[in-house]
């Protein structure tokens, strides 16, 4: 199985007529068994089509047209309009929202996340590339065109969670080359506040039988790794975890931001060095190099279930 989405997942694309969204829609329709993109929303564009997907003015119209609840939405509207688009999705019964948009002020993100929580919906992102279940479905631009995604991602036992969209593919490709496929790979976004953190996705992977181990990509900035370390310890997770920490050089440059909006060293706790120590305390192995990840996770897997 997989987490978050599967072959039957229906979703819409909000902002579907934008250049990036048109490409993303094509990619999702082409990948695996072909995603069920049941509609798109761009206000004022009712009646158009994008790669055969009908376009509506409102999410409510898309739901009415579909005739039953729609599970997900990929939101690609400009930052100033994202909060409204996400509120619209949530209030129309959408349960899983992938926010691609970058540069959204964190107050808006926090409001979206709180409303989603109240309504039992989940947000992935913002500033992310989405979710992929290898050979089955992808929701978002993750992995790029179907042909490229198929080259990097293969089905298998490893769950991948990453604060960087590009590195989700780099790590999955490295795992695939070593014969370790992925159950689901999630690009969670690089902002200071995001809808779903490592610790918030862990229970889903924990409950997924296909998943036997987890690989994460992390950066300096924030407390998300400490939260993961605590979750793993408190819940006695069955899943071995290997982490990769990029941006170690930033420890020498407090107050400077590199890479992603959330990546800035502001205090002692959010340095790369401190995070590595915390992860290690929770039994999470921190790889020095990407190419070491397959070997590390493989040996952890064989420790837990001797052949």
């Amino acid at each position: 199985m997989s987490i978050l989405i599967d072959a039957d997942t229906t979703f819409i694309v909000q902002g579907i007529t934008g250049r990036e969204a048109v490409n993303l829609t094509r990619e999702c329709l082409d990948y695996g068994a072909g995603a069920k993109v049941v509609g798109g929303v761009t206000p004022g564009r009712l009646g158009r089509e994008v790669h055969g997907v009908p376009v509506f003015d409102t999410v409510a119209q898309a739901v009415a047209h579909h005739g039953e609840p729609i599970y997900g939405s990929v939101v690609t509207v400009p930052p100033a309009f994202t909060k409204d688009a996400v509120f619209e999705a949530i209030e129309n019964g959408i349960k899983l929202i992938v926010i691609v948009t970058e540069r959204i002020p964190r107050r808006d993100v926090a409001e979206m996340v709180e409303l989603a929580t109240l309504r039992g919906a989940r947000i992935i992102g913002p500033n992310c590339l989405g979710i992929i279940v290898p050979d089955v479905i992808k929701m978002g631009g993750i992995g790029g065109p179907a042909r490229n995604a198929a080259q990097a991602y293969t089905p298998g036992p490893i769950g991948v969670i990453s604060r960087s969209g590009g590195m989700t593919t780099e790590m999955s490709s490295t795992l695939s080359a070593a014969g370790l496929g992925q159950s689901t790979a999630v690009s969670i976004g690089g902002d200071a506040i995001i809808g779903s953190s490592y610790a918030e996705l862990m229970p889903l992977f924990e409950a997924d039988e296909q998943t036997q181990g987890i690989v994460i990509y992390t950066e300096p900035g924030g407390r998300m790794e400490a939260e993961l370390a605590r979750w793993v310890t408190e819940n006695k997770s069955r899943l071995p975890i290997v982490a990769f920490m990029a941006g170690r050089f930033m420890d020498e440059m407090p107050g400077m931001s590199f890479g992603h909006a959330g990546t800035i060293v502001e205090g002692k706790e959010d340095t790369a060095g401190e995070k590595i120590a915390r992860l290690a305390q929770a039994g999470i192995t921190v790889a020095e190099r990407i190419e070491d990840i397959p070997g590390l996770i493989q040996s952890k897997l064989s420790e837990r279930s001797p052949a």
Binding site: P145, G166, R248, A261
Partner: protein, 403 residues
Amino acid sequence: MRFFEYEAREVVKRAGIPVTDYGFTTDAAEAKQIAERIGGPTVIKSQVLTGGRMKAGGVKFADTPDEAEAHARDILALEINGHMPRGVLVDPKAEVAQEYYAGVVWDGTRKQPVMIFSPVGGIDIEQVAEEQPDKVGRRHFSNILPLSDFQAKEVIASTGVTGSALNKLVPIVTRLAKLFVENDMTLAEINPLGQLKDGSFVALDAHMDIENEARGRHKKLLADLGVGDEETRQAREATPFELAGEQVDATDHRGVAGNVTEFDGNLGLVIGAGGGSLTLFDAVRAHGGKPANYCEIGGNPSVAKACGLAKLVLQKPGVDKIAVMMSIVSNTRVDIVARGVIKACLELNMDPAEKIAIFRIPGAWEEEGFKILEKYGVDYADRSVSLNEAARRAVEKIQGVAA
């Protein structure tokens, strides 16, 4: 973006929180006039965006207006941690009975703002939290439910403060929380929050940080405070090289080829994307390489932009070679970046095969990209070569040059 103290105090004042009758100036003679108006002992404070100004001599006490003028003159000429002051703040020397702390920050784990309050103020709140944890109160508040006085009351009362002090503090902390939210702050702190001999409270210093992504919706406030659009107030001022990088990125709206940070090494980096750049920069350093710069390519930039960035890096004094490396791309096209960096070399009359230590960008349109690179004899690698290995090869080549 961080505010200067005189700006933060203005924000506090506008929120209806009592402040002292201070004045800001860039002129020593005017400092004297402000001190005369205040009439009594004053404190002259350097307005710099760096810590440790007290130790550095950037805060001085004056009994007379003449003394205030002399101190202002000294402080205006005093560089602190590489920063020249924006001006000085002339503040009445308050008769403080007790110093408190009030602040609001984001909690990224809970995804809500949190009010922080302590009856132990005037020192770093993290130090108080470590040494007297029972003297620090914290309370999260909702992003969508109404903000109400009782929340501030709870956090203040949790630190043992009661009586008239509690009742006077509640509106101050509530207003601070409100200004934090309304102005898209990432930090709003009054420290110390002074209780005067008569029992009233006044903000004696304030720290405010506004989120860069939200600056667009606070144009009026920023204009009122005199903050220019071009002021980024990074931890260190942008260098001319970094500003040139911003210009390259502004060439057109397609993708990103910028976020340049200057370093002083000999290996120029044309790298991406966000996470890939962080990984690659670490890898170059781990192999003993000396990067000349950090940068990011992503989102499929135009040939012109990739070329502009490569040219900028190639022309940087001290750069012997460049390494062009990214994590596997799916949106950015390999051939476009390849075209851009080769064009840069040719336009500068440099041999791409000699100047480009390695090109490691696998992914979308790689066949086309690799064909171009082959034509010019550039050493390239596909995804079977890790980011780390690519960085190692680049460092190996350049150290050959240095030796």
